[in-house]
Symmetry: C2
Subunit: 491 residues, 2 copies
């Protein structure tokens, strides 16, 4: 099985595709740019979603659901939003099909044309703020802390499974506040929630920062982000949290009576992460044998594979394996005993390696006699013979160890791949030969940022929060700068 | 608050709308026919969804996600499916917007016309079976037991919140089997799961039955359903489970190599329930003061309201109430202590009655001195003074009691409202004066069924499973019949 996988050095992009498809995470669909999330991939997403949802609720948010469709005119209401964003959209123009009069199957009924076209939501600020208008009258109605889990559509021309698809799943938080301070605080709180989730559950270290005006969300006053580094040295934006100021409140006329009995526009935030995170997860950890999944969100944490010859030994192994599986389940571990007859142990080993199951237990008759199990960890491929006494506790510790090791490894990689550049030549050379994050001085102008992007395809990923102030000169223009910013080529 | 509600006798339909909107469950949106599910309504849906999801997984199903869009040509592939179904749909014809050259905001880019129109899924049989073609080769790939939680769109002309909306949320199970027997078994298993969920969690009794050919899902060989009775005597179809035969496998060419090494078409089922269930829940239990929610799925099971004068007594009551809330939470009860200063106790009482919180605890200083709490149950409005000793256990028992009482009450109502009719006159009189289910003989022909519907607006809700055989004569035509079927006017 693993033989069929392209290696990372051979073709990184093909390696990624192989893992997604052969690992059973997702597949292309008959609809251009839309993917099918397969059961194994969806189980992974469910674990991620459930944990995030818990963290959102712990920070006082509730879920709601807003319409899939947005009237076209709504998109025009916030000028920057429509300018920067809402062009590549799926547009609904009709609401009925009919049998073709010439018998050519079904056709769109020309009489069923909508008066105003509907846009399949690419993001929901406009429809939600149009609704908030009816929900917010007084400061007593604030803050409004709402999240939505939904599908959204952006008509991307070049798509890649999970990383960039026409339809994807995400959550979008949309909050309303009485003061600017509260809204900024919320924006940063959710950035922290994202960082905590991605680091502690996905074992991917991230840098928290703020985007340059060029890279801001359309309609935001400030866009904060978490940036992760992939194994090919490219960066990936893993989540964003936007301080929207009063822009959407003004566009949709959402005012509230403040404590001083005066009408005031409401302050807003929005924040989101998507199934793109799965792409980040794959590229941060996996290897040439397949996926490597962190135990905390792996659909399956432990697999048990029997090694037997003949039915008789199978019965003995089945009994012991089921006992072990039960002891692991009792500790809340997601475990599967795979005693199917369809394939040989070697094939199963490769299959579960491909699927990134963190721990594999294998045992034959002689192991049972010796009261031991072979324990293999997916991340390092280390194998040990472990006593059956206290096995369950050993596995619990091992899962925690794997989770931590994966994070440490990714962090060490990022540290190695984060370099200061002090001249243009050095900058270009680092980009081409080393990749990763490059910390360099920039003169702060949009023009320079654009020029650097044109010349190198590198973008400013973010200005890290609590960035060190340091006098310097812009690597391109030589103009004075007060701090380094993080550049990288990115997904 | 409750004063603003229309009563059931005054205007049943307006009463329903008042409850949905003023109870904070849902709201109309700016998009015709699409609703906003508000946080309280969504919390209810989450509880229902999570329980159903658990039951699906316990019966061996896994979740996946398929595209929102369906190529138009797919709908033509299964003849009965397209004939009976897929006409009132949202049709995507373009994929880009642009700035109007005359400055009139944004318009649809005429150059961005899709070669083939995409339909926003009204149900996913076609896109899913087109995918299954790639997933199923041999009997070893079967059964395939997949469920999807998704939004779907059907362009209904007359919409009502939850009951019939253009967009709604639902789950759709789509399973593939090697034999007809297995598929039929699965169809009935999921019907049982639905019945168990609706009866045990929603406290709504249902009748399991099979639809007449006229009322079958388009493309199914048999449609099974659960039918519930609302307080106005109308029936509501609460869930359906379809045996699809080999229809979709043939339409999408999904064959498998069976154990005898022969190619064979796959057998299919599909089954679904939707946010419509929330409509059923409201109409089965609620009263003129507001919602009455069954404890097992109520977003909030217990609310504690303090009765105080002055800050000093408030501090004492706060301490005691928080202690009680903690003891309830420790038992897994969803509880809220509402000590907000915004409104008086009487207003809070009315508000939580409106929202259908099953149990309300109220206490003042004197109650604390006497070590008692006033416990009010929402369903019967009974109030009792209960000792604080063992209060938590009392509440646990009370919640279970309310759950059972609500079911019993709804069952008694249905029993009263289920009547045999033995002549046409009796049938019409019962429909007009009593409503409910009417068990009557029918000659088995589609024509008679249609005629009865035309004359009375009553439809055959189902032929109950394990129906008693009984010789009789059709109430309309007098032709011979072997069993009674259940008629009702329905939502």
């Amino acid at each position: 099985m693993s033989k069929e996988l392209t290696s990372r050095t051979e073709d990184y992009s093909q390696w990624y595709n192989d893992l997604v498809i052969k690992g059973g995470l997702a597949d292309y669909s008959a609809v251009r740019g839309c993917m099918v999330i397969k059961p194994y991939g969806f189980a992974l997403w469910e674990n991620m979603r459930d944990q995030l949802d818990k963290m959102f609720k712990e920070t006082g948010h509730v879920n709601a659901y807003f319409p899939l469709f947005i009237p076209k005119s709504f998109l025009s209401k916030e000028a920057a939003h429509v300018e920067g964003f809402a062009k590549e959209c799926a547009v609904v123009t009709h609401y009925r099909l009919m049998n073709d009069t010439e018998g050519k199957g079904i056709v769109v009924d020309p009489d069923a044309k909508l008066e105003e076209e509907l846009i399949v939501r690419p993001t929901s600020e406009t429809i939600i703020w149009n609704t908030y208008k009816d929900w917010i009258q007084s400061y007593r109605d604030l803050p409004l802390l709402i999240n939505q889990w939904a599908n959204v559509v952006r008509w991307e021309m070049r798509t890649r499974l999970f990383l960039r698809t026409a339809e994807f799943l995400w959550q979008e938080g949309h909050t309303a506040h009485a003061t600017k301070e509260e809204a900024v605080e919320e924006t940063l709180r959710m950035l922290d929630v994202y960082a905590e989730f991605v680091e502690e559950y996905m074992a991917v270290p991230v840098i928290k920062g703020v985007k340059t005006p060029n890279e801001r969300f359309a309609g935001a006053e400030d866009t904060y982000c978490i940036e992760a580094l992939m194994q090919d040295g490219k960066a990936l934006q893993a989540g964003t949290s936007h301080f929207l100021g009063q822009n959407f409140a003004r566009a949709f006329e959402v005012q509230f009576l403040n404590k001083e009995n005066k009408q005031e526009y409401v302050w807003a935030t929005s924040w989101g992460v998507s199934t793109r995170l799965i792409g980040a997860l794959i590229m941060a950890h996996s290897d040439d044998q397949g996926l490597v999944l962190p135990p905390k969100i792996a659909p399956l944490q432990v697999v048990i594979v029997p090694i037997y010859k003949g039915e008789e030994s199978k019965a003995v192994i089945d009994a012991k394996a089921n006992e072990i599986a039960a002891s692991l389940k009792a500790l809340g571990i997601r475990v599967k005993y795979d005693n199917s007859d369809n394939s040989r142990p070697g094939w199963k080993f490769a299959q579960y390696e491909l699927q990134g199951v963190p721990v594999r237990l294998a045992m034959g008759l002689r192991d049972i006699e010796n009261k031991v199990v072979e324990v293999a960890r997916r991340d390092t491929k280390e194998k040990n013979s472990v006593s059956m006494d206290g096995l369950a506790n050993h596995v619990v510790k091992l899962l925690a160890d794997i989770q931590q090791s994966m994070f440490d490894k990714a962090l060490a990689f990022r540290t190695t791949k984060t370099t200061n550049a002090n001249s243009w030549d050095e900058f270009v050379k680092l980009l081409d030969e080393k990749g990763g994050f490059i910390a360099a001085h920039w003169d702060g102008s949009a023009e320079t940022e654009e020029l650097i992007k044109e010349k190198t395809k590198a973008t400013i990923r973010c200005i890290p929060l609590n960035n060190k102030k340091e006098e310097g000169k812009c690597i391109l223009t030589g103009k004075p700068s007060t701090q380094r910013v993080l550049f990288a080529r990115a997904y």
